[in-house]
């Protein structure tokens, strides 16, 4: 059976597991008013300070390829992987859960707005002026499996893998897949986790429109599992402290 060997987190309340656990038990909040969300019924959000990616990027220029969720995931995954014995990274499996990235990256806005003619959308303009303004790396930032890709590349993980999309259950599916990979002998170790950021204005608006009224949040949680005793965990209500962090929410109980 599988057991947890390492945990890495990046949350609005910090990145130290014990400190975050204490903070939640004490009822401290990681939510704060966000000027970017002014105008919404509730402008609070659980926003991560930083994160500092020094030490987590293989090449500094790779930072241009990272969407917000991947920026949160790299240090969280890296900390969980510190428990990995030397020399086994190549065979390690990796399962990741993701939510929906911001529907329109702010960098794409000039390109999209260039399609307006007298207040009406002109699709054909996207082929001309709009195309010139379109960020060339945007597709690579917003593909759902980019969190998995960046983590696997940074840490040399070449085992089986998967990226699950969807709501809060996706994080649990990733954990389950990782544990089964170890239990069934397909990988010696498996990294699993979730990363999500929903604190931008467009995502916050979309959440309200689908009836999600909890303040938005962002976070990443990764665990490293290996052979051992059964994995047991008891989820708690962390949303009050962190905001709704989509697929990460199902993983708070791991802490």
């Amino acid at each position: 059976m599988s057991r947890i060997l390492g945990i890495g987190i990046v949350t609005p309340l910090g990145d130290d597991v014990e400190a975050v656990l204490s903070a939640v038990r004490e009822g401290r909040s990681g939510l704060s008013a966000q000027p970017a969300l002014d105008g919404l019924p509730d402008s609070r959000a659980g926003v991560v300070s930083g994160p500092d990616l020094a030490g987590w990027l293989t090449r500094k220029k790779d930072g241009r390829l990272l969407a917000r969720a991947a920026r949160l995931a790299l240090p969280a995954a890296g900390r969980a992987l510190r428990a990995l014995p030397p020399g086994v990274a190549e065979d390690t499996a990796i399962y990741v859960a993701v939510g929906r990235e911001p529907p329109d990256d702010p960098e794409a806005e000039p390109s999209l707005l260039a399609m307006e003619v007298d207040g009406v959308l002109n699709r054909e303009r996207l082929g001309g002026r709009g195309r010139e303004l379109y960020p060339p790396l945007l597709p690579l930032r917003t593909l759902p499996n980019m969190v998995l890709a960046h983590v696997s590349i940074r840490h040399g993980l070449r085992g089986e893998n998967g990226t699950f999309a969807g709501a809060a259950t996706a994080g649990v599916q990733a954990i389950r897949a990782a544990c089964l990979a170890v239990d069934e002998g397909r990988a010696p170790f498996a990294l699993a986790g979730a990363a999500f950021s929903g604190v931008d204005l467009a995502s916050a608006r979309d959440r309200l429109r689908v009836g999600l009224t909890a303040p938005p949040g962002e976070a990443a949680v990764f665990i490293l599992v290996g052979p051992g005793e059964p994995l047991r965990w008891d989820p708690r209500d962390w949303i009050a402290a962190m905001g709704d962090c989509g697929p990460v929410a199902g993983l708070w109980g791991l802490l």
Partner: protein, 406 residues
């Protein structure tokens, strides 16, 4: 190289439940329906044409492999998923309940560009329809599937891995039946702009019918496609008990990460080789047993070279290989499912499909046994393998075998 057998006692081959394919459905740029697509694929017909969905005259790439189904974006995606599902369920709908699950490969749909200039905000249902798991939710709801429900989003590998995940769930006994497959819609303005700015698309605007040319010396990129493929996967004894027609058995699944670069594959094909070898080993076979490979074969210079090196590395001798993306372009999140179905049909009809537009095989890809016209196998084809490799370095391979009940 990772292997299923490397890390513990192998319980996968000897003690597991067997998984069979009992029904399939698909919509592709070659047509609506399995038989229409299969006939066109064997004949090497072309599904790549000038873009009809929007005026692309100012775009750098003005062609795609579009489906002949009205709609766009999330609405079209759902329509394609339901068309493929309806065909797969034409001969019988699985019993609802907790022994039925759904696992699809799917990506998020882009918000319609018109939303930018709408005065009224989109409704909640419109936003929810954009989520990657929207087709999965829709199918589960329609069928009353209360078992596992997953959506895999690993770009071009999505539906290959979705089928693999579904197979593992049946083997473990979590369910008896899984609806597995994938769906994607790519002929959209932002997709054309985004992928062309990456330099990934063919720019053969003067001859789109020759643009997708996997393994050809003069290939210059992939062609955006779209479609859906659905498979009904069942535990073998469950299928036999209900008298289902068995098309093939899913015997092997393997996947791996390249851990190389975001857009490139390692030139030696090591990640792809690991996935193929895992799938073959998982099937309890050796590479010599595989009689046909449906390659990922995107028609990009890098993928085809890397994949060919991987094939040489695993098989060591020429095995019949083709990429049906020559006919229908790259269906991205749906390609793994559609190409899996083609492998099932190859076993059923004992004929392997060709690669369209492969005129001058690239010598850098080595001595592959390219299938240039549909090739009958005279009852000798027992096992087929299909590959799907995605942006970001996720690789998935599946092995299908003749069922001993066929």
């Amino acid at each position: 190289m990772p292997s299923w057998r490397a890390f513990g006692p192998d319980t996968r081959v000897t003690s597991r439940r067997r998984v069979v394919v009992t029904a399939v459905g698909m919509v592709t740029p070659l047509g609506v329906g399995v038989e229409r697509t299969w006939r066109a694929t064997l004949a090497g017909e072309n599904g790549v044409r000038p873009i009809q969905r929007f005026d692309a005259s100012d775009y750098p790439v003005r062609f795609a492999a579009e489906v002949d189904v009205p709609g766009s974006g999330a609405t079209l995606k759902q329509a394609l998923a339901m068309l493929a599902l309806d065909e797969a369920l034409a001969s019988g709908v699985p019993a609802p309940g907790s022994r039925l699950g759904v696992c699809l490969g799917s990506e998020a749909a882009r918000p319609p560009l018109e939303w930018l200039f709408r005065t009224t905000p989109p409704a909640g249902e419109e936003i929810a329809a954009l989520a990657p798991d929207a087709p999965t939710r829709m199918i589960a709801r329609r069928l009353g599937a209360l078992g596992p429900r997953s959506t895999v989003s690993t770009a071009c590998t999505s539906s290959s891995q979705a089928i693999g995940e579904a197979v593992l769930r049946i083997r473990r006994g979590e369910v008896d039946t899984m609806i597995a497959g994938g769906v994607d819609v790519l002929s959209e303005p932002l997709m054309v702009v985004g992928f062309s700015k990456l330099g990934a698309l063919s720019t053969r605007n003067d001859a789109p019918e020759h643009a997708s040319r996997p393994f050809d010396l003069h290939r210059d990129g992939f062609v955006l496609g779209e479609g859906a493929g659905m498979l009904v996967l069942e535990e073998r004894e469950h299928a036999i008990a209900r008298g289902a027609s068995i098309l093939a058995e899913v015997t092997g699944y393997g996947c791996s990460c390249n851990a190389w670069r975001i857009t490139d594959s390692p030139p030696d094909g090591r990640g792809a080789a690991a996935a193929m070898l895992d799938a073959v080993t998982d099937a309890g076979l050796t590479p010599d047993d595989i009689g046909y490979i449906n390659a990922h074969g995107t028609s990009t210079p890098q993928n085809d070279h890397s994949e060919s090196q991987a094939i040489h590395r695993v098989f060591g001798k020429p095995v019949p290989v083709s990429s049906t993306k020559g006919q229908m372009g790259h269906l991205v999140a749906a390609c793994g499912a559609v190409e899996a179905i083609l492998c099932v049909l190859a076993l059923r009809d004992q004929v392997v499909p060709p690669t369209r537009n492969l005129v001058t095989p690239d010598p850098a890809c080595g001595d592959l046994d390219h299938v240039l016209v549909a090739r009958p196998t005279h009852g000798l084809l027992r096992h087929t393998l299909t590959n799907a490799f995605g942006f970001g370095g996720s690789n998935g391979s599946l092995v299908f075998s003749m069922s001993d009940t066929s």
